[in-house]
Symmetry: C2
Subunit: 301 residues, 2 copies
């Protein structure tokens, strides 16, 4: 059985998937007109800010590896974007990374004030778990497994919140490979890995399938972070839509800082190859996931 959509027409596929994700986000988030309006406007300002939806797309592609005809995975997948966006809103606050540009627009607290930005982030965290608890067409056990997976990936033991602490505490520290590993695995790696795993869980993957997709997620996540660090050096703020060169300015522990630029590029290519290899057993069913891994490594912003 082949994938329901042809592997060609990559851009149309991406655009169609992004529409599904945006529609799901629109369904699960309160409308702007609901009280309190300012809060709901602040939430939607950051959610509908032109994000690439990489995490939901990974989840949906992983679900289709397991069940090519599966429907509704965007409902589960969009909760990854809620968590990712809440972390960006909080990360941009003056008390954290103090950034005023994100996805080419003023950050949430610049537009709505710090108090509203804190609450908008809190709200997105809450709505993400509520959405998973209410997922239609999904067994109660699967919904609980998805909630646990998302909470672990965004949590304090090797998860996203732990990564932000390591990142903050790592500023100005000697850039060692060990510290770098700790930061990246938690800060971006955990949620990217969970993206693939949540798609697989939603589609009812067996243990062997989940293992293979987890390996893919780990290598792809590492490639993603290496490329992110490289882009911060090589691209302009205009191209990135966020402040470029901040890592060096804030003495962040990054792949180029630890390994140099040339070695970092080599590492990204190796991780991409390892990600591809993890998908071997799935054959053509995993074509979309392979393309997403390639996009992640080849992206210019």
């Amino acid at each position: 059985m082949s994938s329901p959509q042809p592997v060609s027409h990559l851009e149309e596929y991406l655009a169609a998937e992004q529409v599904l994700v945006d529609r799901a986000l629109n369904r699960w988030l309160p409308p702007e007109a609901a009280e309190p309006e300012t809060l709901h406007k602040a939430i939607r300002y950051s959610i509908f800010a032109g994000g690439k939806r990489i995490r939901p797309l990974l989840a949906m592609a992983a679900a289709r590896v397991i069940q090519p005809e599966i429907l509704g995975s965007e409902d589960a997948a969009c909760t990854l974007e809620m968590i990712h966006t809440y972390s960006l809103i909080h990360d941009d606050l003056p008390a954290m990374d103090d950034d005023d540009l994100r996805r080419g627009r003023p950050t949430n607290h610049i537009v709505f004030g710090e108090a509203m930005a804190i609450l908008a982030g809190d709200a997105l965290c809450t709505i993400a778990f509520q959405t998973l608890a209410r997922l239609p067409h999904t067994s109660a056990d699967a919904r609980l497994a998805l909630i646990d997976e998302l909470a672990t990936a965004s949590g304090t033991i090797g998860g996203m919140i732990a990564g932000q602490v390591h990142d903050i505490e790592g500023e100005g520290q000697p850039p060692t490979a060990k510290l770098l590993d700790q930061i990246h695995h938690a800060k971006t790696g955990a949620l990217l890995r969970a993206s693939v795993r949540m798609g697989a869980i939603y589609a009812g993957a067996n243990a062997a399938q989940l293992d293979a997709l987890t390996r893919f997620g780990e290598h792809m996540g590492l490639a993603f972070q290496i490329v992110d660090d490289i882009l911060d050096i090589e691209q302009s703020s205009d191209a990135l839509g966020k402040t470029a060169g901040k890592d060096a300015a804030q003495q962040k522990v990054t792949f180029p800082a630890v390994h140099g630029l040339a070695k970092s590029k080599e590492m990204a290519a190796q991780e991409r190859a390892a990600a591809h290899a993890a998908l071997d057993e799935f054959g053509p069913r995993a074509a979309r996931l392979r393309q997403l891994a390639d996009l992640i490594v080849e992206r210019q912003k």
Copy 2:
């Protein structure tokens, strides 16, 4: 069938229940020694700060109304304390209420810095939902219902986060009964109501039982907020363990500001009576819940 514990010995009962809650919190929260240590210290600093555990105690007492011999309700109940504590940590931030005293000690951001306080709050929100997803001895459907209940009560549509927005936006506004109602129902009412409902859901209450306990929760929640507003005027910071007189200083919309002090006290007494009346059908089984409502109204801090 009577309650497994005698209704007398109130102080021993409270102390014993608080021990159960604290043990549950200790089990579900990462140890201080787990990486990242600073974050886990910050979480435990605010969780184990001598809070009265009113919300968990309400949940456990409500569970015992439905099933006097029920065990393990403290695991579900302690998630209410996680959400309550995260809201206090974020509420005390300079960008929000800017308070440096809570439960008689410096607030979280004073001790650990603003970035860590934001992340500690985020972490508690996440761990609360994860704990419910992992509850032992509870059906998958009950766990999902508890997650949905907690998310709704702490959320943006009439929930705790909505209440904080109304509270911030209400500062300096004319103190009308309508605005007061909106703030209190969402800011403290929703989570107190959910405390009782979560205990009832945990214990498998039927629809009629849940309705009666919900009515109790609404009247008791209103009484709680009226008394809170009165204490802010009548008590010293020393007695409260937090900054007294802040409501007036920040021009908050409170019950005494809208109705005057004497009328507010009358209202608290009426709400207590209505809370008691909602429990009539349960007879002696609800003795503990009645005592908790009395404690809430008669408390001095």
